[in-house]
């Protein structure tokens, strides 16, 4: 899985590419937890390059979401979610939890 990060204002945009599964979720978890440790609690996960996410990956997102929520105005948002992933988010209830936007820019604007 490819993970790249850029900062736009006070928001960390994390672009993901590939599957988020039991193999790659560990690296994602490490990366996002490092961002949290560095004090970043406004994050947008750019999901344009992700076509599959497993429960292992969802756990990571949920964990980071909860940590971000602990800080005022902190939040993990999703952007550019692909249809296959959107279906998974719906079935698992994650679509009710994690706000999702069509583009990264819209996600940032809504902080």
């Amino acid at each position: 899985m490819v993970i790249t990060t850029k900062t736009i204002g006070d928001v960390e945009v994390v672009a993901l590419g590939g599957r988020i599964d039991a193999v790659t979720s560990y690296d994602l978890d490490t990366h996002l937890k490092q961002l949290l440790a560095d004090g970043h609690t406004k994050m947008v996960a750019d999901m344009a390059g992700v076509h599959y996410i497993s429960s292992s990956g969802l756990r990571v997102l949920l964990g980071v979401y909860k940590e971000c929520q602990k800080v005022a105005q902190g939040e993990l948002k999703l952007a550019a979610v692909q249809p296959e992933v959107a279906q998974i988010l719906d079935v698992t209830g994650f679509s009710k939890l994690l706000k999702s936007y069509e583009t990264v820019e819209t996600a940032i604007e809504n902080f």
Binding site: A22, Y26, R59, L62, T92, G93, F94
Partner: protein, 618 residues
């Protein structure tokens, strides 16, 4: 008869049979949903559409989804990939689709096999399965009985419970109906053969004296009525026997460990001498336990010799209950059974193994002793066999079969609130140690046995795959060249030639005669190949381990360490050897790849880890 296709029985290491599994699962779930709806369809729904749109309702569903995803995620992160051919560790592998689906369906019906009224379908199934297993193990279908327990441990407890109450019965007869055993002294009463005791049980029932006699027996009076006697097990025993004698009041000091041979089988010469010694001391023997498939080595005890020894001692006035712990190796018997369930002659067996393409003839399997051990199984009073091991059924399913069902009256217990004595329905809960237990696990076994016969063309095919690979692995290890990591050279050797499908092996640095170093090396290797180091899901190879120590095995393991050039003084100083243990249960080890390729990859992985260990030490 078309041969069963093993590849169609499992989901597969890469979920190859995903479509079939999902199709059947969806069908079964849909079918169950309709069953619910159809029960008095005129009844109004308990949960309405208005209820379902309530915020609290939706929130509760959301909480449920999140909990399930959390569960799924945790399982993905840390579960053992049993299904993979890279997993060669404990006695677990992929499980049968028929069993999994049967279990998943039946848990929705949630039957409790404690009493018939809670499980009309699965209680009947349990008795059917119990009977099938008993017949499979060689028992007379009219006289035998069997049932599913939650594991081999409970099955072993039940075996010893039966033994205790059986041996105690004649003393109670002597107290209540002395005429029936006139002329027999205490020693003779304690050494009546099982068949004779059961004849007394039958006589007591027919004479309506059973309740009175039982009230004087160990089950009612406890061990005040009966000095329990000795239980003889091989040193290679499962730890459940230590618990069993404790729980049943026999006491661990009455558990005698018989040493093992170089093949890690019970030394029957020592057994015979021990029995003679106990007879001399007038110490009666409650039971002898033989093992088919020891937990650590997969050894098959010489069951036929134990049977011969029992017959010989019965001629001299000493008898004992004989139980076989075949929790692990029991299902291997399927390899020896023709399609009419007759036991193959040795010639027939070799022909069938070749004609059915089950085993490479060069492996010369089975040995004479192993063949005779499996042939002698029906001579035992009871046998433990675990479907959740080489039955390829999910946990938790053990089983016990008894040769003569009259013995069940010695442990039967009636709790009137659970079932009615006068009902014609099977009184399962009366004859078993456990109370409430899942009918779903029984359904899993039942469904599997509907698809896979317990003979060579059925289960025999599955178990043969693992045994063949184990023997090939054994030979490959024994003939392997040293592994050179640059500055160090290592050698690997197997503990014993497998009797079934377990290969224990260890590495040693050539020239290093320190046994502690060897143990540390193998322990570090295990840590690389287990949950202890890094993430299991990304591990190249996963195995298990065991330690063979002097306290439990005497000096037999020294014969192994000696092969590495380690002197006897080291064994005496350190007293244990750490080995890696691979149960080759997967049926897919050489699918789509020749064994040599697998072994080459295996040795490359070992070399990589040995290099890492070498670098770390420097």
């Amino acid at each position: 008869m078309e041969k069963l296709n093993v590849d169609a029985l499992f989901l597969g290491p890469k979920s190859e049979n995903e479509l079939f599994f999902k199709e059947m699962l969806h069908y079964l779930i849909d079918d169950f949903m309709e069953w619910r709806k159809g029960y008095h369809s005129e009844d109004h729904p308990a949960i309405t559409a208005d209820d379902q749109i309530q915020t609290s309702f939706q929130q509760t569903l959301l909480d449920t989804r999140l909990a399930l995803v959390e569960l799924a995620g945790r399982l993905q992160d840390k579960s053992m990939p049993w299904f993979s051919t890279r997993y060669l560790g404990h006695m677990t592998t992929d499980t049968l689709m028929a069993a999994n689906l049967g279990y998943m369906l039946t848990l929705l019906y949630n039957p409790n096999n404690c009493a018939y009224e809670g499980s009309p379908v699965t209680t009947e199934m349990e008795l059917e399965v119990g009977k099938r297993l008993a017949v499979f193990l060689g028992y007379d279908p009219e006289r035998s009985w069997g049932h599913i327990a939650s594991g081999g441990t409970i099955a072993n407890y039940e075996g010893l419970w039966l033994a205790r109450n059986l041996k105690a019965f004649p003393l109670a007869v002597a107290e209540i109906e002395p005429d029936w055993v006139q002329g027999l002294d205490t020693w003779q009463l304690l050494n009546l053969p099982s068949e004779r005791i059961l004849d007394l049980v039958e006589k007591a029932i027919r004479s309506n004296r059973f309740a009175a006699i039982r009230s004087a027996s160990a089950g009612q009076k406890g061990l005040a009525a009966f000095k329990p006697g000795k239980v003889l097990v091989p040193q290679s025993k499962h730890y459940s026997w230590l618990k069993a004698v404790d729980i049943l009041g026999i006491g661990q000091e009455n558990l005698i460990f018989i040493p093992v041979t170089d093949e890690y089988r019970m030394d029957t010469g020592v057994l015979s001498r021990k029995l003679a010694e106990l007879q001399q001391q007038k110490e009666h023997v409650l039971a002898v336990v033989g093992i088919i498939g020891t937990t650590e080595e997969g050894a098959v005890d010489d069951i036929h010799r134990i049977v011969e020894i029992r017959k010989a001692f019965e001629q001299k006035g000493l008898s004992f209950y004989f139980h076989i712990d075949a929790a692990y190796g029991g299902f291997v018997r399927s390899l020896y059974l023709n399609t009419d369930f007759s036991f193959s002659s040795q010639t027939e067996l070799q022909q069938n193994l070749q004609n059915l393409n089950l085993m490479d003839a060069r492996l010369e399997y089975p040995s004479e002793e192993v063949y005779r051990a499996f042939a002698a199984m029906p001579e035992a009073d009871s046998i433990t066999i675990d479907p959740h091991k080489m039955g390829y059924i999910p946990y938790a399913t053990g089983a016990i079969a008894v040769k003569d069902k009259r013995i069940l009256d010695l442990i039967s217990f009636f709790a009137h609130y659970v079932f009615e004595k006068k009902e014609v329905h099977p009184l399962l809960g009366s004859y078993i140690m456990e109370g409430s237990k899942a009918g779903a696990t029984v359904a899993a076994v039942w469904t599997a046995l509907q698809v896979i016969p317990l003979h060579q063309r059925g289960y025999g095919q599955i178990v043969a795959r693992g045994i063949e690979k184990a023997l090939q692995l054994y030979h490959a290890l024994e003939n392997s060249h040293p592994i050179d990591t640059g500055q160090h050279r290592y050698i690997v050797r197997a503990l014993t030639k497998p009797d079934i499908n377990i290969v224990d092996f260890a590495f040693c640095e050539i020239g290093d005669t320190n046994l502690e170093h060897m143990n540390s090396l193998n322990q570090t290797l295990f840590e690389f190949f287990s949950y202890k180091t890094g993430r299991i899901y990304t591990n190249d190879f996963i195995t298990s381990k065991t330690s063979l120590d002097q306290e439990n095995y005497g000096d037999i393991p020294e014969h192994f360490t000696r092969r590495f050039g380690i002197p006897q003084s080291e064994w005496e100083r350190v007293g244990s050897v750490y080995v890696l243990r691979s149960c080759i249960m997967t049926p897919f080890l050489n699918s789509n790849q020749p064994f040599d390729e697998f072994f080459s990859r295996f040795m490359n992985i070992m070399k990589e880890k040995l290099s890492a260990i070498t670098q770390k030490n420097e």
